[in-house]
Structure formats: structure tokens, C-alpha cells
């Protein structure tokens, strides 16, 4: 019977395993989190004031 067939992935040499968590990776992780926090602060400032009304009134005619 047909086994569940797996598609063979190419395994180019440059495809290395994911890096181990190192101090640098942790720092980078914190940096990313700080960036996101900053972005979320900005969103609070620019988000449509009345989200419910905005979403309700966002109606488009269908197109292609």
C-alpha cells in the first residue's frame, strides 16, 4: 500500500540548524521586544478613535 509520501526537501549546505540561544540572541530578542513595545505605543496614538464605528462603516463594493 502507498506509504504516506514525503516530498524530499533540497538540503543545501548553507541551510544550517537554528542557532543555539546565546547571549547575543537573547539581547537581540530583547531588542525586538522593545521595538514591538514602542510600536504598540505608537498604535495607541494613531488607531481610529472609535474602532467599532470605523470597522462598521468600512464597507466596500465588491470588485474583481
Amino acid at each position: 500500500m502507498a506509504e504516506r509520501e514525503q516530498v524530499r526537501k533540497p538540503t543545501p549546505v548553507e541551510r544550517e540548524p537554528a542557532e543555539q540561544a546565546s547571549p547575543t540572541a537573547t539581547e537581540r530578542g530583547e531588542e525586538i521586544k522593545a521595538e514591538l513595545d514602542e510600536l504598540l505605543d505608537e498604535i495607541d496614538e494613531v488607531l481610529e478613535a472609535n474602532a467599532e464605528d470605523f470597522v462598521k462603516s468600512y464597507i466596500q463594493k465588491g470588485g474583481q
Partner: protein, 502 residues
Amino acid sequence: MSIPKTIGIETEYGIVHRGTEDPNPIAASSVLINAYLYAAGYRTEDSNDTVHWDFIDETPGIDARGYVPTAAMPPDVETHLVNAVLTNGARYYVDHAHPEISTPECADARSVVLYDRAAELIAHHSMAAASEMLPPDQELVLYKNNSDGKGNSYGCHENYLVDRATPFGRIVTHCISHFVTRQIFTGAGKVGSEIPGQSTDEVPYQITQRADFFEEEVGLETTLKRPIINTRDEPHADARKYRRLHVIVGDANPSQVSTFLKVGTTALVLALIEDDALRREFIFAAPVAAIRQVSHDLTLTQPLEMVDGTTATALEIQWELLDQSRKYVEANGVENVGGVVALEVLDRWESVLTGLEVDPMSLASELDWVAKYRLIEGYRERHGLDWRNARLRALDIQYHDMRPERSLANRAGLERIVDDADATRAMSEPPNDTRAFFRGKCLQLFSDSVVAANWDSLVFDVGTDALRRVPMMEPLRGTEAHVGNLFNECDSATELLRRLGS
């Protein structure tokens, strides 16, 4: 042998008229485009001489399968209120109830990204110009998305020049497998589902805007019962030699990387199809179910059922297409797949598939669906919101807001692959390596003598007897290399036509 992949995309923008009780999207779209045409100098107080689109050769009802299906309604000839040709070779018009910008014909994926970015800048300028014309408390706002979250969708269509000799059935087979699975990097992300009866609890967030709207595998429609493969057969070129594959399944992407990969990988896959170089066929047991399944699976691990009883994931199919494309380029070179840009496409394709496999969230600066998910999930967590909360839907819509100061995509830290200075130039300058060069230059230099234009011809009125139509049936003729000198040497349209005729 495959033919060079001339590419263009056409984007319908969502439009909102703020500050009025009774918005009319068709009138608003006309105001928007007219405002741009005046602001950019296409129209003046004294003259109304914008070059109009010429519909004489348009036949959207012709079907690529070689017949007109009697049960299917061919698309209506679209009613266009405003319809202008720009000096960069693009078309800017009202389609249905949306403003739409078609890029000029491009020779590679990077050029498509450049002209798509130029279209975004045209949208910015149009909104600003419209504000000058409207009462102070009113504003027109554009959204580069594909759905209003209430079951209404509008498209971002792609067009690829394909060899007429390629059997259409082969195109259907392999394109379905690519279109269903490329969603993992082309998706623009969406909160909730628009499949009737499916709740946000079942699908809180999905990869694409469009997947919910596809109901057929193959067909002619674009607005109802949308098919994964659209069969419109209207090449806008020599129909004996070419097809134009009209692709309607994609999302409009704020991310330049997503657009680059969307058109770059599709051009490669089409070249492999033309040369019959794809060794494996992935035929889904149920393609329409599969396109939704891929869009709804944020883990990218769900096996898709094939008609022969085997399974494969979207990632596995994409790895196979990448592998075959690399081999193809090694054997055949890059001449017909966008030149050296194809090598950039292959490298980016590989790095993005690797990222998707290891941790999709690592691609938050490259792919729209990941960037948007990161924002929305972060916001949801911070405020402890349920996925049904209107603020999350508002974030979703506002990701696509074309006002630079309001756009969340603009703040998401997305990598750019074209320079804004180049895109600004591309708002008025055509690409130099397709027939769009000839169209754009004629409009720049001799617009007084051009009475109409479309993709494959220009019509001149030089004051003598009959109007003169210049056919442009070859998308790669009329480039700067072919006709650049002519424009340097001719002072008038009369002179240009005389030289072209000799």
C-alpha cells in the same frame, strides 16, 4: 523554449470618503483620479486633453480554454468613468467602485516592485490633491487591501506573458499547486473568516485576504464564483504567439518582499511549465478546500491531500518548486526569467522558506501576514482582547491605510527593496526595457498628438487626413534600446510617425 516573462500587476484600492453622510465610491474614485491628473499636470484649467484609454481591442469574454462557456457569464465590459494613461506607461482608472492602477509592462520582479511602489506614491499624491478639492472636513482615504471584512472583495491581479504553444491544461495543473501554496509568503493577513457560517472563534487570523473568496478551480469570472485559475484570454499582444495569464488569486501587498516573491516565483514556475521542466505534479484532491486550508493554517504543517492519496504540506511543495527552479536556471540561464533579478528571487525564496520552516515570526520585517500578525497579537496581548474585538479588525484595516502617517504597514519596519527616490521618478518615467517605454515617451513628448492609447496600440492625430494607429503587438519591442534614438531625433509626432513608417 520559454519566452521572456513580461509582467504587470493591477491593484484595486479600497476607498473611504470621510466626513460625508452619503458616500458614493464611484464618484469619490473619479474625484480622486481627476484631482491627481490636475495636480500632476495631465489636465489644466484650459484643456481637458488627458489621453484616454482605447477599448477597441478589449475582449475580456474570450476564454483560454478555446470556447466561451454558455453557462458562465463573460465579464461585463467595465464601465469606466475616468480612464487615463500616465507618462510612466501605467493606467489609472475607476473600475467597478474602486480606483485602480495598472503598472506598465515590466521585464522583471524588481521592476514590478518599483512600479507598484510608484503606484502607492501616486495614491498618496491623489489623496492629498483630493483634499484640496473637497470641503475642509472631508477626506478620501485609500486602502491597499482586498476585503472589507464583510464578504466584499476587490483584487490585485497579476499578468504574465506566456507562450501560446504551451498546453493550457499544463498551466492549470502546475499553477494551481503554486497558487495554493505560495500563499505562505504572498498573504497579506486577515482577522477572521469571510466564509459564510465560519466564525472568528474557528479562524481568528488567517494568512491571506483573498482565499475565502475562491469557489471554483478554473473559470472566466472575476467578481462572482471566483476561480483559482482565471481563463480570460486577452493577450494584449500577438494572439498567435502569446497568452496573457491573468492571475486573480493574489493579495495586494504593502510588503515589497511579498510582491517581489509573488511575481518572481510565479514567473519562474511559468518558465518551467513552458519548458515542461516540472517533473512532479501535485494535484490536490480538492483545490478550493486546499487554498482555504493553507490560508487558515498558521503552523504551516497541515498535510494537503493529493488526488493519488499522498499528502504534502505547502512548504514541501514550495521547496520542490524552488529546487526545480534552481536546477532550471542552472541549466537554462536567467535570460527568460528576469535576468539576474531571477537569482535574487531564488535566494530570497530560499531564505523565506527557511524562515517559515524554523520560525515564521522571524519574517516580521519581510512578509505582510507575519508583520500584521505580530502587531495584532502584540496589541491583543497587551490589552487582553478577544479576537472578536473591533479594535483588532480596525488594526487589520489600518495596516493597509495609504496615508503615510496612518499606515501601520509603514510603521511595521518592513524591509524595502526599492528606493523611494527611484519610485518617485517611476511615477512619471516608464521602464526602459518593455514597450511601455514607447507608450510613456510618446505621452511625455507628444501628448497633444496622442488621442488614445491601450496596451497594444497608440492612436495619433497629427492634423492630416485619418487618425494613425501604431500597433505594439510585441511587448518587448519599443524599448529604449529599440527606439530611444528616435525620440532624441524627432521634434514632432509627425516626424516620429514618418520615421516609424519608413
